[in-house]
Symmetry: C2
C-alpha cells in the first residue's frame, strides 16, 4: 500500500494529519538514531524494523480489514486484560499509544498535572488525534491497577467507550473470587461486542496462542543470560513492545526465528558488547513504544541491558496459563490464577516481586539493576525502596531513576548512569 493510501486511512480515522506526519518524522529519526545506528545487529531485526516502520501503516490496515470483515478491535495498555478471552471471541487486542509526549496540554485539561507520563500520553494521544490504534478501537478496556489510570479511564470514557475491569489489590482468596467474576464479566462484554460466543474450544485456542507468545518471550529472556550479551537491550525491549501490537502468531514465529539466530551467535560467542561490559537489568515501570530513552542512555553509557523486569518485559510473559482445562469454568479458573500471579506493584503486599527481581538479576548474570519509576507513579516509586533493600541483601547494586518522557534530563541521567556503570566495571 502506498503512503498516499495510508494518509487516506488516517484521514478516515480522523487523525490530525499534519501533527501525525510530524510525529512519524520524529519517530523515524529517533528510531534511526537509537536502533539503526547499532553495529552488528541480528538479521532477525529486519522484522522489528519492518513492524516499527509500518506500525501506523500496515498493521492499522490489517486491523481495518479485519473490522471490514466483521471483527472487533479492543485496545488496552495493561497486562491484566486477558487477551485469551478477546481472541476467543475472535476480536483483536492491541496496545494503545502511550510512550511519547503528545497532546500534553489537552490531557492536562481532563487529568491532573501530577500524573505519570504514560497516562498523560495515553490521554494526550487520544485528544490530539495522533494514535491510529486508539482510533481503531471498538472498545478500550481499562483496569484499576493504579489511582492514576483508574481515574483517567473515567475521563477517557467521556472521549470513547471505555470498559473497566476491577483488578483486586491483595491476593486473598476473596480477591481471587472478585477477579474471576471480573473475567466472566469481561467475557460477557466481549461476547456482546462481537456477537460471538466464547466456547471452550475457542478459549483453549486463545490460551494456546497467548501462551505460545509468552513462551517465545521466555526463550528470548533465557538466551540473554549468555555472555557476551547476544542482543542489545534496545532490541529486546522493542521485541517486548511489539508483542503488544503485532499479530500474535506472526510475532511468535518471527521471534522464534530470531531466537534461533541468537542461539547460533551464543554458540559462536558472538555478542553485541564485549564480555566484560557491565550487564544491567532494568526493573520497574513499563516502557511503551517509543519510550527508549533510558535503554539508549544506559547502553550509550558503556553497559548492556540483559533484561526488563516490567509489564513490557517479564511481567508479561513469566507465568503461563495452565492448559489442562477442558471446560470453560476450568479455563476461567486457570486464567484467573495465572493473572493473579502477576507481581504488579498494585498489590499489597507484593513481596514476591522482590524475590523475582533478585532471582532474575542472578539468572541473567546481571552486575547491577537500574530501577525505573515514572515520575508520579506511586506504586513503583514505593517499591523502588524495597527492591533496593532486597538487592542490597544479595550484594547486587541498584541505581534508582525517576524520570518522565521529556528529554530535558538526558544529560543528567547519562552522568548518573555512567557513574553507576563505572562502579560495576
Amino acid at each position: 500500500m502506498t503512503q498516499q493510501n495510508y494518509r487516506k486511512m488516517w484521514e478516515a480515522l480522523d487523525l490530525d494529519l499534519d501533527a501525525h506526519d510530524g510525529l512519524l518524522e520524529v519517530l523515524g529519526k529517533f528510531y534511526g538514531d537509537i536502533y539503526l545506528s547499532q553495529q552488528g545487529r541480528l538479521a532477525g531485526a529486519e522484522y522489528l524494523d519492518f513492524v516499527l516502520s509500518e506500525i501506523h501503516g500496515l498493521r492499522i490496515q490489517e486491523l481495518r480489514e479485519a473490522q471490514a470483515a466483521g471483527r472487533k478491535v479492543i485496545g488496552s495498555f495493561c497486562v491484566f486484560v486477558p487477551e485469551e478471552i478477546t481472541m476467543a471471541a475472535d476480536a483483536i487486542q492491541v496496545g494503545l499509544c502511550a510512550g511519547a509526549e503528545a497532546g500534553t496540554e489537552q490531557a492536562e485539561q481532563v487529568i491532573p498535572r501530577n500524573t505519570c507520563a504514560l497516562i498523560k500520553s495515553f490521554v494526550g494521544f487520544k485528544m490530539a488525534k495522533l494514535c491510529p490504534f486508539t482510533e481503531s478501537c471498538d472498545l478500550v478496556v481499562g483496569e484499576t491497577t493504579c489511582d492514576g489510570k483508574k481515574k483517567a479511564y473515567e475521563a477517557f470514557n467521556e472521549l470513547t467507550p471505555t470498559y473497566v475491569m476491577e483488578v483486586p489489590q491483595t491476593k486473598s482468596k476473596a480477591a481471587l473470587e472478585l477477579w474471576k467474576t471480573e473475567i466472566r464479566r469481561y467475557l460477557a462484554e466481549v461476547e456482546k461486542l462481537t456477537g460471538n460466543t466464547v466456547t471452550a474450544e475457542k478459549l483453549k485456542q486463545g490460551i494456546k496462542t497467548v501462551n505460545a507468545r509468552r513462551r517465545v518471550l521466555q526463550r528470548l529472556n533465557k538466551l540473554r543470560a549468555a555472555s557476551p550479551a547476544p542482543i542489545s537491550g534496545r532490541d529486546a525491549l522493542l521485541i517486548n513492545q511489539i508483542s503488544f501490537y503485532d499479530d500474535p502468531e506472526r510475532f511468535t514465529a518471527k521471534i522464534n526465528e530470531l531466537c534461533d539466530e541468537l542461539e547460533t551467535r551464543i554458540a559462536e560467542k558472538q555478542g553485541v558488547a564485549d564480555e566484560d561490559t557491565p550487564r544491567l537489568l532494568l526493573s520497574g515501570c513499563p516502557m511503551a513504544v517509543p519510550n527508549w530513552k533510558l535503554p539508549y542512555v544506559t547502553e550509550s553509557a558503556g553497559a548492556v541491558i540483559v533484561g526488563e523486569e516490567s509489564c513490557i518485559g517479564t511481567r508479561n510473559f513469566r507465568d503461563l496459563v495452565d492448559e489442562s482445562g477442558t471446560t470453560l469454568d476450568e479455563m476461567i479458573d486457570a486464567l484467573a490464577e495465572r493473572y493473579m500471579q502477576i507481581d504488579c506493584a498494585c498489590f499489597t503486599p507484593n513481596t514476591e516481586r522482590l524475590d523475582n527481581v533478585t532471582a532474575l538479576a542472578k539468572d541473567l548474570n546481571a552486575d547491577g539493576v537500574i530501577h525505573y519509576s515514572l515520575l508520579f507513579c506511586q506504586p513503583y516509586s514505593h517499591e523502588s525502596m524495597k527492591v533496593d533493600k532486597a538487592l542490597q541483601n544479595e550484594g547486587i547494586p541498584m541505581l534508582s531513576i525517576e524520570t518522565d518522557y521529556s528529554m530535558e534530563d538526558v544529560e543528567q541521567l547519562k552522568t548518573r548512569i555512567e557513574a553507576f556503570v563505572e562502579t560495576l566495571a
Copy 2:
C-alpha cells in the same frame, strides 16, 4: 494529672520528649491564633478547647488506663475501618496523627517524596516519635483506598504491626462480597487481638453508638444551613476532627448540647458572621488535626464555611448503618452496605459524589465551593475537575485549591481565596 505526670506517660510511650514539647508549643500557639481569637464563640466550644488542650494528655491517659484494664487500642485514619466491630470487641478505635509536618525527612526515607502531606505526616509522626496515639496502638489498621496509603502501610508495617483491609475499587456486587469478607476477616482479627468474642448483642450496641455519633454530626450539619451561620467553619471542622479521637458517648452528649445552643442562636438570628457574608462549602481531601490552614485562610478572607464534604466531614456521618438486624450475619451485611455507600474518590466511577456535593451545597445554602486536594493526591485531584463541571452545571462557582501542610503558600492562597470570595459577595 499534672503536666509532670504526662511527661512520664509520654516517656513511657517512648516519645521524643523535647521535640514533642516543641510540637505542643506550636500547636498551642496555632490554636490560640486560629481558634481562641474568634469572637462570640459558643459556650459549647469549651468542650472543644478542653479536648484539644488535653488531646495528648488526658485522652492518652484514658487510653492507657483502658489498656491497663485489659482493653486494646486500634488506630486508623480512614472512615472505612468499621469502628462498630472494634467496639463490639471492647477495643477503642482512635485516629492517628496526620495533620502536621513532622518527621518529613525520616518519612522520605521509606516513602516517596511525591506523597501527599497526610501520608507523609502519618509516617513522619511515627518515625519522629511524636504521636502518643500512634504509640498507644496495639494495632494499626490500614486500607487500600489509595496507592499512597496502600503502599505506605507496607513501610509502616515494618515500624509497627499494621493490618490492612482491602477496600474494593468499584461498587459491583462482587466488590460488595469482597468487602463483606474483609469485614469478617477484620472481626476475626479484632477477636484474636482482644480475646473477646463479638456477639450479636455487642455488635448491635456498637452500631447504635457509632450511629448516635453520626446522628449528632448530621444534626450539626443541618443546623449550619441557617443564615447567619451559627458556627464558624473552623469550630465545625474541629468537632469533626475530635470525633475521631474522643470517647464516642461523651462526644455525642457534648455535641448534642452544643447543637441545643446552636438552635437557640438560630432562633435568635445570631451568627458568627453577617447574613450577607459569602457562604462556602469545603469539598475534597480530609483535614486532620491540626490542619486548619485552609479554613483559617478562608474565614480570614471574609467568607464563612458552612460545610465540609470530606472524610473528616460528611463522608464520615452521612450514611447510617441499618439497625434492624438481629443476627451477626444481618448486621455484617448492614455494615458492608453502609460502608459501600461512602462516596470516596477511590471508587470508579464515583458519580454519586458529584450529586452529593451539589445537593450539599444547595442544602447548606452555600454561595460557592472550595475544592481542596492535597498535592499528589491523585483520586481527589482527578475528581476536582468533575466536581467543578457538576457545580458549573448548577450555577455554583468553585475554586480548586491544591496544597500541602507547608505555610509557604498561605499568602498566595489568601489572594486567590479573597478574589474568589469577592466574586460571590
